[in-house]
């Protein structure tokens, strides 16, 4: 029982930490000089597009924190985070590489990270579902 809830909460907190870091880089894209060149971050339209996305990322961070208050009851949030957020971002990474926007090395590193998140969120959701079933049969 304890081990299952640990997996569920680990998934929420992995999402909270990752989203908070992502939101900071989206608000201040010039800090991410590993992924984006100075030519890209100084592009005013890029800044506008990325910063608008930051609002949603901040919202998603708060949402995961809220879901973590009732981790089993609000487990669907993990499923929505898994798909379309993480799966969609993996798709975007492939598109960015194919359009020549990012290098292959960056894309592979990103895809490995997304694969880890897919595993963590899937484990979190499945454990939460099992906990809910156990609770209902008691």
């Amino acid at each position: 029982m304890n081990r299952k809830i640990l997996w569920v909460r680990l998934a929420y907190w992995a999402g909270i930490v990752a989203d908070a870091i992502a939101a900071a880089f989206m608000l201040f894209p010039q800090l991410d000089n590993r992924l984006f060149s100075a030519a890209i971050t100084s592009n005013p339209l890029f800044g506008l597009g990325v910063r608008r996305g930051a609002a949603l990322m901040i919202g998603w961070t708060v949402l995961l924190f809220w879901a973590d208050r009732k981790p089993v009851e609000r487990r669907d949030i993990l499923l929505i985070t898994l798909c379309p957020v993480v799966v969609g971002y993996a798709g975007y990474l492939c598109y960015a590489w194919m359009s020549g926007f990012t290098a292959l090395r960056q894309t592979i590193a990103g895809l490995i990270t997304e694969a880890v998140f897919i595993a963590v969120f899937a484990a979190g959701y499945l454990n939460a579902r099992q906990l809910s079933r156990e609770h209902n049969t008691l």
């Binding site: 608000l27 890209i40 592009n43 005013p44 339209l45 890029f46 800044g47 506008l48 597009g49 990325v50 910063r51 608008r52 996305g53 930051a54 609002a55 949603l56 990322m57 901040i58 919202g59 998603w60 708060v62 949402l63 809220w66 669907d76 949030i77 929505i80 985070t81 379309p84 957020v85 799966v87 969609g88 971002y89 798709g91 975007y92 598109y95 960015a96 359009s99 020549g100 926007f101």
Partner: protein
């Protein structure tokens, strides 16, 4: 009756949020064609902006699903409406800080949406 009204206002808010999010998903997915008429931004040849839009798309699609999810149990999940209001406010602030304030008709929609979400959240307090 009063309780029913509270739920109705919440559901109007969720429904309006879903319509807006679906509407904004299209220019994020196809910025080359739709960013100019909807966002007022000309992305021609700006691969960085097009990538920023497509990067943003999965989160917008997810927020649409989230509002549909919240609408299934509108009162129990009413905090989602507050989070959505925070996002609308943040997006507006970010746009002003990045581009400066430019009056456009979209501000009426933004402020109306914000008012609806805040009202829906506050009015539904105590509803079951």
């Amino acid at each position: 009756m009063a309780v029913n009204n509270k739920v109705i206002w919440l559901r109007i808010g969720y429904g309006w949020g879903i319509i807006q999010d679906v509407f904004y998903c299209f220019p994020l997915l196809l910025p080359e064609h739709l960013a100019r008429p909807i966002f007022g931004v000309d992305p021609t040849g700006n691969i960085a902006y097009i990538n920023a839009c497509r990067d943003h798309f999965p989160l917008m699609a997810a927020w649409t699903l989230l509002l549909i999810w919240a609408d299934r149990k509108p009162v129990e999940r009413r905090e989602v409406m507050l989070f959505t209001a925070i996002i609308v406010a943040l997006k507006s602030l970010i746009t002003v800080f990045t581009n400066g304030f430019v009056w456009e008709i979209m501000w009426v929609a933004r402020l109306g949406t914000l008012a609806l979400f805040i009202f829906g959240y506050l009015y539904s307090r105590g509803a079951r």
